[in-house]
């Protein structure tokens, strides 16, 4: 009876390692706290109507940022635990984590950072910026977009579910390499959690990518030819095309692994003709392009940043475009460099080694192009530009080590070593994460209506840069000393100092992340004097700057007509046309996305714990929801010209009122001391005047 109801779920499977229980408590307490605050503030309705069911890509983008930030902290805590264990566990000491637990941590770290942090931020940026850059009001399919987002959230919850319902996470490395991930070597639910977390969010990614390709190809402002598209949109287009190409492959591979585990097939097992090498091939055919799916939008961001802050057009637009197209093309033919060491022989290795080195060509072209853009510019060192300068130096070193790893004979020595770990972190942190930070501080005014605090932003940047090299420099050295990755214990005491330095680097990075949170909080405190009243704080060049900050939910009063690249710059030079108020059609809110994602989560949960009734019910539920959606014909509503005019006037009134008060503010970004003081005053006031009662 019990098995019928809850499958394999038992009391014994609940978490019992102390650090896992810590996670459990944190999640429960945060949840309770959020519920209390929202209930007291009577914000449930607002939350549901204005945010959760919203189809506005800008709101969805911000929700992506919030979820991804939480996951960044969660994945970051994993790193500190990994490095602490590696600093302690040398020689006769064995650290504070068991081997199995350590392996679960780095597996979760990899999954979370790639799928739920990097992908989350990238999708958030694409959601927010691409429609604005191409002069569209919304996306081709607002429904697919909210569905994609909620599937991503379902994946996020799935990856953390073991905190609440127990079992373990996978201990196989982030790709779940077979046959280690088969039931023979990984019994239990760990790998199943991983499969379903990636499966659900992966399907969301595929849907999102299709949506963005159609949006970029079909919904550009009148007159905007492909050759006039801003470079971030180009990078996003390349990235989304790659995602559509390879994400189905991930889905298929994970299904095969799932069949192996659930119904006992032998695709990747060691026995009965299973071929584990096939898994390695399939997963890397997705896995390598995945890195570039993250990288290409970041290239786009840096292109925008360097051009805007140098006050120059990009030096060679076509080189940048073909550089990005070239990267996405060649990225599909390099996957085998992840396992030269399988012993495929000279011909195969030589081909894939060569293709991998070829990718360095379009990438170098992009870098040279940015340098040429700075030539005879007028460079303003705002934080996005600092991220860019930090990125190029770091990325160059990552690229060089990448070319080394691309050479099969050298790779035999460097593969699976910490050198490799340091290399891909250089690329993903130095390239993707810093690109995301540059993008967020660049477009922050467009999202919130005020700029980010520059002063604390600079502190955060330097902590990140120094912390990064303190953390990963030693890993390069350790790799050259012959240290393999993923060691929970080692005998060679000469390695220990390097791990300790890496730990301190990690702590410095944690401080940097803390500073970034402070930076955002400080900007909220000072939002009146950081306000962006013009909608164009950086003297921007592309269409997103032509609309006020924060961008209204309909994006533009009039869809602009485009005649050239740097469309907004040209508008500014020729005079901005007066707004004409006309009726606008906008999509209605949709709650089905949440329901489908919730059911998908339950479906995965049912498969993980083998709860048959749950599988059946949620599968039927998903089908019913999709059918319901197809009958939903009234998906749009109209904002009349009069309403639009009223909203625009009200906004202008508010802006004028604010401008009258502006001169009372101090003219400087808040530093850490002022931040501390204002937080102290605020909390004193909060306690003294019992402010919680007024919520």
């Amino acid at each position: 009876m019990r098995e019928l109801l809850v499958g394999n779920l038992t009391w014994e499977s609940l978490p019992h390692e102390w650090s896992t229980i810590g996670g459990t408590l944190t999640f429960i307490l945060l949840g309770i706290f959020a519920v209390i605050v929202i209930t007291r503030m009577k914000r449930w309705k607002w939350l549901w109507n204005d945010w959760l069911t919203s189809v506005d890509p800008k709101k969805i983008g911000i929700m992506y940022f919030i979820v991804a930030t939480f996951m960044l902290l969660r994945g970051g805590l994993d790193v500190i635990m990994i490095w602490l264990q590696q600093s302690l566990s040398a020689g006769t000491s064995h650290g504070f984590l068991s081997a199995d637990h350590f392996q679960q941590i780095f597996t979760a770290h990899g999954n979370i950072m790639v799928f739920f942090v990097a992908m989350g931020f990238i999708f958030g940026l694409i959601n927010f910026i691409v429609p604005l850059q191409i002069g569209a009001r919304d996306l081709a399919s607002p429904f697919l977009n909210t569905l994609g987002f909620w599937l991503y959230v379902a994946g996020v919850i799935m990856v953390n579910t073991f905190f609440l319902f127990g079992g373990k996470y996978a201990a196989t490395g982030w790709l779940g390499i077979a046959p280690l991930s088969g039931t023979q070597f990984s019994p239990g639910v760990g790998v199943d959690y991983m499969i379903w977390a990636l499966q659900i969010s992966g399907i969301g990614t595929t849907l999102g990518a299709i949506n963005f390709i159609v949006t970029i190809l079909k919904m550009r402002a009148p007159g905007m030819k492909l050759r006039m598209m801003p470079l971030f949109t180009w990078g996003s287009l390349c990235s989304m095309v790659m995602a559509v190409t390879v994400f189905p492959l991930l889905t298929a591979t994970l299904f095969l692994l799932f069949f192996d585990r659930y119904i006992g097939t032998h695709f990747f097992t060691t026995t009965l003709g299973g071929n584990a090498m096939m898994y390695t091939n399939l997963i890397w055919m997705w896995g390598h392009p995945e890195v570039y799916i993250l990288m290409l939008p970041a290239f786009g961001i840096f292109s925008e940043v360097v051009s805007t802050y140098s006050r120059k057009s990009i030096a060679s637009y076509w080189s940048a475009v073909f550089g990005m197209i070239g990267v996405s093309f060649f990225a599909l033919s390099v996957w085998l460099h992840h396992f030269f060491t399988m012993g495929a022989g000279g011909d195969v290795n030589a081909f894939f080694g060569l293709m991998t080195m070829v990718i360095a060509i379009p990438t170098s072209v992009l870098v040279f192009n940015w340098i040429a853009t700075m030539y005879r510019g007028r460079i303003k060192f705002s934080t996005p530009m600092l991220w860019f300068l930090g990125f190029v130096g770091t990325f160059a070193i990552g690229g060089m080590t990448g070319v080394m790893l691309a050479q099969p004979p050298a790779d035999f020595q460097l593969h699976n070593s910490l050198f490799l770990v340091a290399h891909f972190h250089t690329m993903v942190i130095g390239g993707v994460i810093w690109g995301i930070f540059a993008g967020i501080s660049y477009w922050f005014p467009k999202m919130t209506g005020f700029r980010l605090n520059e002063r604390i932003g600079r502190y955060a940047f330097w902590c990140w840069l120094v912390g990064f090299w303190m953390a990963f420099g030693p890993l390069y050295v350790l790799g050259l000393m012959g240290a393999t990755r993923r060691l929970d214990h080692y005998d060679n005491l000469n390695w220990q100092p390097f791990f300790v330095v890496a730990l301190f680097g990690g702590i410095l990075i944690a401080i940097a992340v803390g500073l970034q949170l402070v930076q955002i909080a400080a900007s909220f405190i000072q939002k009146r004097q950081l306000a962006d009243n013009t909608g164009d704080p950086w003297d921007g060049r592309s269409l997103e700057w032509s609309t006020p900050s924060p961008a209204p939910f309909y994006n533009f009063v009039n869809i602009p007509k485009v005649t050239s690249r740097d469309a907004f710059l040209q508008m500014k030079n020729q005079g901005i046309p007066k707004p004409v108020y006309k009726d606008i059609t906008m999509p209605k809110t949709i709650s089905l996305g949440i329901y489908i994602a919730g059911l998908a989560f339950l479906l995965g949960f049912g498969f993980i714990w083998e709860i048959t009734w749950l599988i059946v019910v949620s599968a039927i539920g998903i089908v019913v929801c999709i059918v319901l959606r197809t009958f939903d014909e009234e998906t749009e509503y109209i904002i009349s010209a009069a309403e639009l005019e009223k909203m625009e006037k009200a906004r202008t009134q508010k802006l004028l009122a604010r401008l009258r008060h502006d001169d009372t503010y101090k003219d400087e970004d808040m530093g850490l001391r002022e931040f501390y003081k204002s937080v102290l005053t605020w909390s004193q006031d909060f306690v003294k005047n019992k402010r919680w009662k007024t919520f």
Partner: protein
């Protein structure tokens, strides 16, 4: 607007301090740990060739990267906002010739690298036998959970987690695995790694030229016993090697199928074990246990 006067100078000084610290760190590492940088202190021909290739590519890449990065940071400094003397050319884009240069420079560098790397890929293919006058020594390696079993078919001895080889003699490692996930067999001092997989005999050729004790390890994650799955590789003179073989012969353990079946059971941090005799066909039995077994060695012949 914000005041930005302070910023560039403070940024620059931090950058200089940072670069100084970085180079100091590199120097300290170089001085103190030069010998520990195993990959650049090869003890055999294969590892040496691999190290040379790495050093060659580092040289080429640094030669490209330093001017590029210097140029970038120079531009960043020269065309800074506060330098009103520098020319500002907001509409300047690259001419056709410069665009060609943009693409040709990396292509040239790639051709240079590829012309060295591609031949090296064939020359240093791990399956390729090492040219030498000495008759090669064959060692069969079985990756188990979580220990390494080494069988010396010609000497009819076997060891667990301990490997001894004569110097200046090419060694052919035949790698497979049994009841274990994918493994990677790596002795960094002697050369690159190769995967050991069930039902698959992979061939790795290495050679040692200096006597010494070298660490060997499993390089691919394979379960909870992963970090304890390591072994000692000892390279010694021919004479020492022969003496060692004789000592092993004194061991009371022998490796027959019954003993092997015990060994296959998962265990962690195994001590070194020596076997004075081996049932001759164990490696082949293990290999053929798996359907569709694939033998690189026979394929090459």
């Amino acid at each position: 607007m914000m005041k930005r006067k302070k910023m560039p100078s403070s940024g620059k000084s931090v950058r200089i301090i940072f670069l100084g610290l970085l180079s100091l760190a590199v120097l300290i590492v170089g001085l103190l740990h030069g010998k520990d940088l195993v990959l650049f202190n090869p003890k055999g021909q294969i590892a040496q060739n691999q190290a040379h290739l790495m050093l060659f590519s580092i040289t080429v890449l640094v030669a490209v990267a330093i001017p590029t990065l210097s140029l970038m940071y120079f531009f960043a400094w020269k065309y800074r906002e506060s330098n009103s003397k520098a020319k500002h050319d907001p509409n300047r884009t690259l001419g056709k010739l410069s665009v060609v240069g943009l693409w040709v420079i990396p292509i040239m560098v790639l051709i240079l690298l590829a012309s060295v790397v591609l031949p090296a890929t064939y020359r240093l293919d791990p399956h390729k036998a090492i040219v030498s006058d000495t008759k090669p020594l064959t060692i069969q390696v079985i990756a188990l959970r979580w220990k390494w079993l080494f069988i010396y078919p010609d000497q009819n001895i076997a060891t667990v987690n301990y490997l001894q080889i004569p110097i200046n003699t090419p060694v052919q490692f035949e790698l497979t695995a049994d009841e274990a996930p994918m493994n990677s067999f790596w002795i960094p001092h002697l050369g690159g790694q190769l995967y050991a997989m069930t039902g698959h005999s992979n061939l790795l050729n290495l050679i040692a030229d200096t006597p010494g004790i070298y660490a060997g390890q499993a390089a691919e994650i394979n379960g909870p016993g992963f970090s304890g799955m390591k072994f000692v590789a000892r390279a010694s003179s021919d004479k020492d090697f022969n003496t060692w073989v004789k000592t092993v012969k004194w061991s009371s353990n022998t490796l027959d199928l019954a003993e092997y079946n015990k060994l296959v059971l998962p265990s962690q941090n195994n001590p070194v074990t020596l076997y004075s005799a081996v049932k001759p066909s164990i490696y082949d039995t293990v290999l053929l246990k798996y359907e569709g077994a694939h033998n690189h060695q026979t394929e090459q012949k």
